[in-house]
């Protein structure tokens, strides 16, 4: 029987560009759900990647570099909304029924208008869970919430959306 020796575990450390190409689009979509603006979402995610680039030697050693980038992007978006009141302006834009660039679901429902009525933390929780496909525990860690709070937001948000769909479909059927 051959003695198996000299097995070396090769750990391939991804480059920042690898992470960018793997996660950028999903991060932008997630923050678009939260902010209602894809430009604002793209700015926040790009700034997070710039910071990661500048501190890559340190961040590359983290267990979850993408988690660090995600948190930086979320904080950047929060700061931006807090600073410039863009959130309120975005909400007003989202609630304008005559938008040309309204993103519609397959049923013709303007999803941005529906989500604009949700509290920000609930939108963020649902976006991380349904767009980023994070687990409940990962969402809780990212937002510094308890898992129970995350489940509460997910449950409540899902019920509200279902009610909204039902009401929309009822209006459409008339």
């Amino acid at each position: 029987m051959d003695d198996v020796t000299g097995i070396t575990e090769v750990v391939v450390v991804p480059t920042l560009e690898d992470l960018f190409r793997a996660h950028y689009a999903r991060l932008v979509r997630m923050l678009t759900v939260v902010s209602g603006s894809q430009d604002a979402a793209a700015d926040a995610v790009q700034e997070a990647f710039v910071k990661a680039h500048l501190h890559w030697r340190r961040i590359a050693g983290y267990d979850d570099p993408v988690g660090w980038i995600r948190r930086v992007a979320i904080n950047r978006l929060r700061d931006e909304h807090r600073r410039s009141g863009r959130k309120e302006r975005a909400m007003q834009q989202l609630q304008t029924a005559t938008r040309d660039d309204a993103v519609e679901w397959s049923n013709g429902i303007d999803v941005a208008v529906l989500l604009a009525d949700f509290p920000r933390q609930q939108r963020l929780t649902m976006a991380l869970f349904y767009v980023e496909n994070l687990t409940v525990a990962e969402v809780a860690a990212t937002l510094k919430l308890s898992e129970g709070a995350v489940k509460f937001h997910l449950h409540q948000g899902r019920e509200r959306l279902r009610d909204a769909f039902a009401a929309q479909q009822e209006r459409d059927s008339r």
């Binding site: 960018f20 190409r21 689009a25 979509r29 993103v103 679901w105 397959s106 976006a127 767009v131």
Partner: protein, 237 residues
């Protein structure tokens, strides 16, 4: 599988996230921003370094300028070379054109005594406060019992004409000028065998000690009420 996983919700949020962004364009923007930030940091670091270097150079220049500045001495308590100021009898008594000369007699053994006693030129034993002399010197004398008071007109300051007086004791004599309410030691001459040590060369009083093995003359002139007052002390050991 989480209880919250829901295909309908994922479809809904997938639509809410909007179209997929262009990765290449976005990555170019990120790398461009990184280059901009690094250029700014390099510029800041370069600016800080330049400021530091300029500051250091300015400090060095200031220190060098400060070390070359000549500070006027107020007292002549110590000689230039750090040793005891041992002026000898070869120091000539000089008078300027504005002062009258004292009556002197040439010393008999002055030359040999001085050669052994002094290592510095006689004129350097009194520091820069002593005016350089312009006229020819007069040989030293051993005894001048009464001070020869001379007054010379000063064409440059008619309001306060300087007064120059010579005071003599056993150990030697000193020539003092009163000008602008201040005394100035013009010259001093030690008697043969005496060594001189300047204690005060200007200010409110002038003081020179003349000593030999058995005698000490403390030659002091004070400025009192705008007048020079001689206070000589003769002490035998």
């Amino acid at each position: 599988m989480s209880e919250f996983r829901d295909e309908q919700m994922e479809q809904f949020f997938g639509a809410a996230g909007g179209p997929s962004p262009d990765l290449d364009v976005a990555y170019d923007r990120v790398t461009g921003s990184v280059r901009t930030v690094r250029r700014r940091r390099a510029a800041l670091a370069g600016g800080a370094l330049c400021t530091l270097l300029i500051g250091a150079a300015a400090l060095t220049v200031a220190r060098q300028a400060g070390s070359q500045r000549i500070q006027p001495g107020s007292e002549l308590s110590t000689p230039l070379d750090g040793s005891r100021n041992t002026a000898s009898s070869t120091t000539p008594v000089t008078t300027s054109g504005t002062t009258s000369r004292t009556t002197t007699t040439p010393p008999s053994t002055a030359t040999t005594t001085v050669a052994a006693a002094s290592t510095l030129p006689p004129t350097t034993s009194v520091q820069g406060a002593v005016e350089p002399r312009r006229d020819t010197s007069v040989p030293a004398t051993n005894h001048v019992d009464t001070p020869a008071v001379t007054t010379a007109p000063d064409n440059t300051r008619p309001s306060s004409p300087p007064i120059t007086q010579t005071f003599s004791g056993v150990g030697g004599r000193i020539t003092v000028r009163l000008e602008n309410d201040s005394l100035l030691l013009i010259n001093f001459v030690a008697t043969d065998g005496f060594a001189a040590e300047v204690d005060h060369a200007d200010g409110s009083h002038v003081e020179v000690h003349f000593t030999n093995a058995t005698h000490e003359t403390n030659a002091r002139v004070d400025l009192e009420n705008g007048q020079m007052v001689q206070r000589f002390e003769e002490t035998n050991d």
